[in-house]
């Protein structure tokens, strides 16, 4: 039996940064995608404005389409499944991409992935195929960005503010959210990264009380 030591359930940490000094503020409506770029050293705060809104995010190394956030490398490196203050997001090439430097929510999901037309047919019902979903969002944002990224690059993402515990007997559960209005997570880019966001439109899952809400991105 072995465990690594950097994984932990919850490490709350407030940020010393003030939104007044931010260089960019972006309000992201419910259900919509966003593609942006962060330079090394920049910090982005994601604010759960109304609470329990899943924000599905994938990071890519800017200028190198072979390098992306890797859920499994990140989990392996930190020895466990949750993200919180101090967690380092690791790429498929083993590089540190971003560090969680503040977190007032305390837990973010790495396993649940992003909803899709196709997976909704499996999870809910065949006719759910035509509902709005995250992976359609992702594809539209990547098509419009036209930086050489596409479907093959839609790797398992992070669900900020989602709570997806694994039980001791190996079950994956969707627990009630532990987020609340105004909770945030803050990440410092260690390298230049593209950030691909879908503010999840999921209407089949009770985790957001069937009510997707806007979020805010604050960048320093």
């Amino acid at each position: 039996m072995t465990t690594a030591t950097t994984a932990a359930a919850i490490r709350l940490q407030e940020s010393p940064l003030s939104p007044d000094t931010a260089t960019r503020r972006h309000r992201q409506p419910a259900g919509e995608p966003w593609f942006t770029t962060l330079r090394a050293g920049q910090t982005v705060r994601i604010v759960d404005l109304e609470g329990n809104q899943a924000v599905d995010v994938i990071f890519y190394a800017a200028g190198d389409n072979t390098e992306h956030y890797s859920a499994t490398d990140t989990l392996l490196r930190q020895g466990g499944i949750y993200l919180t203050t101090g967690s380092v997001l690791v790429s498929n090439l083993g590089r540190a991409m971003l560090t969680l430097v503040a977190d007032t929510c305390g837990r973010h999901d790495t396993l649940g992935g992003a909803c899709a037309a196709e997976s909704n047919t499996v999870r809910y019902a065949l006719q759910k195929k035509f509902m709005h979903n995250c992976r359609d969002n992702y594809l539209l944002a990547l098509q419009n960005a036209d930086v050489g990224l596409g479907k093959r690059d839609l790797v398992p993402n992070i669900n900020f503010f989602m709570n997806v515990p694994v039980t001791a007997d190996g079950q994956l559960t969707f627990a009630d959210g532990i987020s609340a209005p105004g909770k945030y997570v803050e990440l410092r880019a260690e390298i230049d990264v593209h950030m691909l966001v879908s503010n999840c439109p999921q209407l089949n899952n009770p985790c957001n009380a069937y009510h997707p809400t806007p979020v805010e991105f604050v960048i320093w």
Binding site: M1, L76, G94, A116, S119, V122, D153, P156, T167, F174
Partner: protein, 268 residues
Amino acid sequence: MEHPTHTLDNPPADQPVDAPALWRRFAPDLPAERVVWSEIVPGGGHWSWRLSRGTALRFAALDARANVSLVLYAAHNPLERYNMPDSLKAQHTAHYRAGHVLMSDMGRALASFTLDTLGWHDPLGALLDTPTMEAKYGVHRYQEHRNGMYRSGRDGLLIETGKHGLTVRDQIAPVNLFSRVVVDGEGRFVFDAERPVQGAQVELRMDLDVVVAISTAPHPLDPRPGYAPGKVGVAAWTCGPAPADDPCRRFRPETARALHNSDVFALS
């Protein structure tokens, strides 16, 4: 690990094809008339196959420290591939056992667990990469150790997926057959090194035409000292597509729908 001095025998000239029925040693219950081939993959090895819908792969752990890191891509279009989050959340599980289905990102079953004597296979633990392997076990290069060299799971799968035109960009989370990793109350991984694995059998039925690649390198969380991954028997046989009363189809509504989506796709 195979012995560093191990050499493979060549077949005699009057038997130009050396295809022994190895499956009779590790999976004698398979229907003889439907077995296509079999082989024994040494620990630390890697291989890949293109398999048709309705073919099954039987894996047998021949040593205590067997681990098979396995990835799946749809043969018709490798942009469709095994998706770990989709498979886990649709089945509300963080491990695989008989009845579970490995789903693609397109909502289709790629393969199903039709037989499993262990009850727990790991989808979370990822691959042993070369820096981790060398830090853990030391460096064993071909120059000094010949076929006793150490090979990481990541490099093994890069080689195999590369044979099918895929790159590091296409690497996906593997399924680690024969390995059990539990998650504790704080979300930390705990590898079960005590579980008796030798002799275990797992069977995956292919529900679409697929490319399967495997590495038999150690699981990255395996705490046991020394690079000593176990041998694995592999046999392919023709089982046919999932019948109407298939246990995987009846396992959960979600597995039924994933198999339905594969059936519909296979019509075209």
